[in-house]
């Protein structure tokens, strides 16, 4: 395994990243990206929200989809955790419940890529929680 990594090794990654970022068109405008919020309160975490969030971060990168993955609080749908709110550019947010890796995969392939709704959408009258 050799030498243990140190923070200074981050410099190289930074340079690679800078080169890559300048190629991206949308990086300065988060509104034009897919936004994913994973509910991470006690209920969500206990049901596996962390694995779901890790899955989204890794898979979206692998599948070359530019997205912002963040966490949010409890939306009040504790029975359906882990819940995930997906906002496609220019569309209303959609909340999916009971999300696991298989479902997350489905959401990426069908909803994010093609805009087809996937089973498990929570309420119809849902309004996004304004934080702060």
């Amino acid at each position: 395994m050799g030498e243990v990594k140190s923070l200074a090794d981050l410099r190289k990654i930074k340079e690679d990243l800078r080169a890559k970022m300048s190629l991206r068109e949308n990086s300065n405008n988060p509104e034009s990206l897919v936004q994913i919020k994973v509910a991470m309160a006690t209920c969500g975490i206990a049901s596996g929200a962390k694995q779901v969030m890790d899955f989204f971060i890794e898979e979206l990168e692998k599948r070359n989809i530019q997205a912002v993955v963040t966490q949010t609080g409890c939306m009040g749908y504790c029975f359906a955790e882990p819940t995930v709110e997906v906002t496609l550019p220019g569309k209303d947010p959609v909340v999916y419940g009971y999300v696991d890796a298989a479902k997350a995969d489905n959401i990426i392939e069908k909803y994010i890529k093609n805009g087809e709704l996937v089973d498990g959408i929570i309420p119809v009258n849902y309004e996004t929680i304004e934080k702060n």
Partner: protein, 182 residues
């Protein structure tokens, strides 16, 4: 919660909710003293003594979406179940400090779990908040501060997958080096 790292992820949400800009996480694995200590300190809005005394009651919560709050009660329960203790001190306008002591070798102590992944996840999801991590074991210690990470990144976002991957393995290797169970 199946892992202590998930409790940390949960308790830190309280700090974020309280508007904290600085959050410190200390983990001390003191096998020689048969203790595992977790301390989470923030500079959020804090709470009154009266509220702090009641906050491990499941029916006391600051949120409005539901009437119960189980984060702190579950954390406390797990600590006490393993022969440890739980203390919370807070001052309005200054911040809050939550400390839980677990019996290290107690059968009911949950494993520490994926600390590297948990820390990086919090840091990446909240880039404006400064997180400092301090992990002590009987064989050494490891510190990481997101202020240093951001300085090193020089404007590149901490939430990029490459950075996340790097930080995870950075923490993992260093924890291995100090013989942490995480």
């Amino acid at each position: 919660m199946k892992e202590l790292s998930l409790h940390i992820l949960d308790i830190v949400q309280n700090s974020l909710e309280a508007g904290a800009g600085n959050i410190g996480i200390l983990i001390a694995e003191k096998q020689n003293d048969d203790q595992l200590i977790i301390e989470i300190t923030d500079n959020g809005k804090g709470m009154t003594q009266e509220y702090a005394d009641r906050v491990t009651d499941p029916y006391v919560t600051g949120r409005k979406t539901r009437k119960v709050g189980l984060g702190l009660p579950l954390f406390r329960q797990n600590a006490e179940k393993s022969g440890g203790s739980f203390t919370l001190s807070s001052a309005v306008g200054k911040g809050t400090c939550v400390m839980a002591v677990f019996g290290f070798s107690h059968l009911d102590r949950p494993p520490l779990g994926d600390m590297a992944g948990t820390f990086v996840l919090m840091a990446a999801a909240n880039p404006k908040v400064r997180f400092s991590y301090h992990h002590v074991t009987d064989s050494g210690e490891y510190r990481l501060d997101t202020a240093e990470v951001n300085e090193m990144l020089d404007g590149m976002p901490i939430s990029e997958p490459e950075v996340i991957r790097f930080l995870k393995s950075l923490i993992r290797e260093n924890l291995l080096e100090i013989k942490s169970e995480a």
